[in-house]
Symmetry: C2
Subunit: 194 residues, 2 copies
């Protein structure tokens, strides 16, 4: 189980973490299984965990004043999931994080991750690479949100994250893209008949 | 001029950078003035600069296939501006970055910033704090994009960045929010008469 995280650190840093350094990583994480529809974190509570997804699929969503769910993030194998704002600032979260499939996680806490960044230079480097990648991905998603047509949004999702399109149902994909399910359904039909 | 950057580092790190450490920061940055409508970086070129805005106002935007400008980022005093993807990955930028007002910058390059992070622990810490703040701000903006009504989007902008609303014209604010100028104009009128 920890091997997935080890491979992930190696791939993001372009290095090979050795056994003695990886012991610190192992010590900072705890395995956890979350069954489908169960929660990692709830709206109104502090999100105490940062989780690496070994197997499964999760989503992070907010429920608006009209009772509508909006999915801000999906997570599948090799993705991290947490409410970064709540986790870092220790403020109540706006989000729910639940499992869409039975999910195996490696979870850590703020204290452990702070210590680990001092103990493991490669984990520290990985975190920096992820921050950079996240910044770039968020910039691209914001650009798509404000400038793309509905069809362009879906085409970009298929191109960047085809696995999301395979794993999650259409209503969730629509939510993630900020489209109504009806609009996404219409677009996909139009794309089929072109 | 460098004092603005010094104060910024102190405020983000909660520390006081001393003279000897700040000498490394000064050596890594060059003052630059960009007149209104002039460019820091062009679409199709590698964005070679990361800039700290001492005075003035800038915008980062993309022009879509239909010739429409979409503003992904504003920058005013104490903001940083660059195309992070192009700057980090050395790939051609999709964006233009230009001055909306005459602007005074402190600019640095990828090489200098890499060296500086080794030389100055407080600059390094500031960069980490900014990455975290950016992650959180991007998450909130994505949530607004996919879940808020047009009016909620504008209200959030007024709440989070009132200075943007004072400094930039309505058509640019609309672009930043992913609204048409007509929609934003209608909303603002409705808000006045409520």
């Amino acid at each position: 189980m920890y091997n997935a995280l080890r491979n992930f650190i190696n791939s993001k840093t372009g290095s090979e973490i050795d056994d003695s350094e990886f012991q610190f990583v192992e010590a900072a994480f705890t395995p956890r299984v979350i069954k489908k529809k169960q929660f990692l974190s709830h709206e109104g509570s502090i999100c105490q965990y940062m989780a690496f997804i070994v197997k499964g699929a999760m989503r992070q969503y907010v429920i608006d004043d009209r009772g509508v769910e909006h999915i801000v993030r999906f997570g599948i194998e090799n993705w991290w999931i947490s409410d970064r704002e709540s986790f870092s600032m220790l403020t109540p979260s706006k989000y729910n994080i639940d499992a869409f499939e039975d999910t195996e996680l490696l979870v850590t806490t703020k204290e452990k991750i702070t210590l680990l960044k001092d103990q493991s230079p490669l984990f520290f480097k990985m975190a920096h690479v992820l921050d950079e990648n996240n910044f770039i991905a968020a910039q691209n998603r914001i650009e798509a949100n404000i400038s793309f047509t509905a069809e362009e949004k879906f085409q970009q999702l298929m191109k960047l994250y085809p696995e999301f399109v395979r794993r999650f149902p259409q209503n969730m994909l629509a939510s993630y893209l900020g489209l109504t399910p009806e609009t996404l359904s219409r677009i996909r039909k139009q794309m089929l008949f072109r």
